[in-house]
Each structure stands twice: as structure tokens, then as C-alpha cells.
């Protein structure tokens, strides 16, 4: 059964419960490529990912930081901050895990080329920590070949 909910911020939520494996809940949100929507998109996704669950404080923290980093990267670098474009945020939620996906319509990037922000020369730089945080906070991180879609897996409890 599918249902679509539109919020005043034009975020669209798509929920489907007929996925494989049974019991998986699929959530999809289209986010305008505008940084003002990041916080609301995070809270909307968190609401759906944790529906009926009681996540520990650390899981709740991890989910929010992972979404903040991936959404910000996609909005700024993938969609060039153009609010006419959208970033797609999706999640597959099972009883045990949450698999988040963030996709933009940009050219993508090579995650292997992102330098380590903890190296001595980089420590004082104000940028460059996003992907590092994602890699350290998610249990599993995957990219598509183009580099414009990222999957991040974390526990749901």
C-alpha cells in the first residue's frame, strides 16, 4: 500500500510496505536543493525511520549527522544549490537496520580522491570533514559508479 504526503515545505514522502524482505518500509523524500530544507528533511526522515522504534541516543545522533552531511554535499556540489533542482532522499527500514540513500542529478565525484581531514595540514581547514564523518558514523557506506548516489547503513536500535 502506497501513500503520498505533501508537507508545507513541498517535501514528498512515499511509503511502501510491499518490499522485499517482507516488513521492509521504504521511504522517499524529494528535497529542493536549498540548504534551508535540510533540517526539516532530516527530522521528517528520522520520524519515518524510527516510527514504532525506540532508538538509542547514539543511533539518533548518527542518523541525523549522516543525513546532514549527505544532503548538504548533494545540494551544494551535486545540485549546485539550485532550488529548482531536487535531491532524492530514500530509506529502506527493517526492524534491525536503516539503509539511507541520497542521490543528486550532478556529475558525481570520486570518493577515493577526498583527502583525510585529520592530517596535520588539513586540521585547521574549515571544510572537508563531511565524507570523513559519514565513513566513520555509518556501519557501511557505498557509492554508485557515477558517484552521485550514496548508501549508508546503520542499526535501527
Amino acid at each position: 500500500m502506497d501513500e503520498t504526503v505533501a508537507s508545507p515545505l513541498r517535501l514528498c514522502v512515499h511509503r511502501s510496505v510491499d518490499c522485499d524482505p517482507p516488513g521492509t518500509v521504504s521511504v522517499a523524500i524529494k528535497v529542493p536543493a536549498d540548504l534551508r530544507f535540510v533540517e526539516d528533511a532530516i527530522e521528517l526522515m528520522a520520524l519515518h525511520c524510527f516510527a514504532g522504534a525506540a532508538p538509542c541516543k547514539r543511533t539518533s545522533f548518527r542518523l541525523r549527522v549522516l543525513l546532514a552531511e549527505s544532503l548538504t554535499n548533494s545540494i551544494l556540489f551535486g545540485a549546485q544549490g539550485n532550488p529548482q533542482r531536487t535531491v532524492r532522499l530514500a530509506a529502506e527500514v527493517t526492524e534491525q537496520t536503516i539503509r539511507l540513500q541520497v542521490t543528486d542529478d550532478g556529475p558525481g565525484f570520486d570518493p577515493r580522491e577526498v583527502p583525510d581531514p585529520t592530517s596535520p595540514g588539513a586540521l585547521g581547514r574549515p571544510i572537508g570533514r563531511g565524507l570523513f564523518l559519514i565513513r566513520n558514523l555509518a556501519d557501511r557506506v557505498e557509492f554508485n559508479e557515477q558517484g552521485n548516489s550514496i548508501w549508508m547503513t546503520l542499526p535501527r536500535s
Binding site: 533540517e39 541516543k57 547514539r58 546532514a68 552531511e69 570533514r129 564523518l133
Partner: protein
């Protein structure tokens, strides 16, 4: 949710982050500190005891502010990090860049 600022009797500007420090609101914090610097304030305490989460943009804003304050011969300290936030600073090695105190009171005592 947001930022609040007060100055104590010792002249320390105490900025409390209530909620999150992320890409959408980091500029507000930067403006608060810059305005303080422009007015001659040199001691800043960022109180995170009511902060939920910080993203890399928020961490970057703190790095920028710390540098600005230092260049003005001032001192910016951070206090009240919860376990997750503390781990974030340690993970990024920013704990080596900042003066971090367990609580606002402890940070203020050492100013």
C-alpha cells in the same frame, strides 16, 4: 532552538547552542561572534550543553571562529559536549585544536 548570548561579569561572552549547529544556521553563530569581536569582546565560551548534533559545516564554523578570535588575541573555548559530540571532536582530532572543558562552569573558572 537557536543561539543565545550573554556576557558575564568577567566579560566572557557565553554563547549557548540550543538544538543543532549545521549548515543552515552556522552563519548566525559566526555573526554573533564577529559582532562581539567588533565590540571589543575577546573571551568567548561556546556552551554545547543543550546541543543535539553538529555537522561538518558546524565544526568548520567553530574552526573559523577559533582562528578569528585567536588572531584578535582572544580566547574561544567550548564546553558541555555530550558523549556523541565529544566523540565527533575526537574523531576529527578537533579536540586537539580547541580548549574543551567538561562544563561551562569549569571553562569559565579557567578564563
Amino acid at each position: 532552538m537557536g543561539f543565545s548570548k550573554r556576557t558575564n561579569a568577567a566579560g566572557v561572552a557565553i554563547l549557548e547552542i540550543d538544538g543543532q549547529l549545521i549548515v543552515g544556521n552556522r552563519q548566525e553563530l559566526k555573526t554573533l561572534v564577529q559582532d562581539g569581536l567588533d565590540r571589543g569582546e575577546r573571551k568567548f565560551l561556546i556552551d554545547c550543553s543543550r546541543t543535539g548534533y553538529i555537522d561538518s559545516s558546524g565544526l568548520g564554523a567553530l574552526v573559523t571562529l577559533s582562528k578569528k578570535v585567536r588572531e584578535a588575541n582572544g580566547d574561544l573555548r567550548i564546553a558541555g559536549l555530550n558523549e556523541d559530540l565529544r566523540a565527533l571532536f575526537e574523531l576529527t582530532k578537533l579536540d586537539t585544536l580547541f580548549h574543551i572543558a567538561p562544563s561551562a562552569d569549569e571553562a569559565l573558572a579557567g578564563f
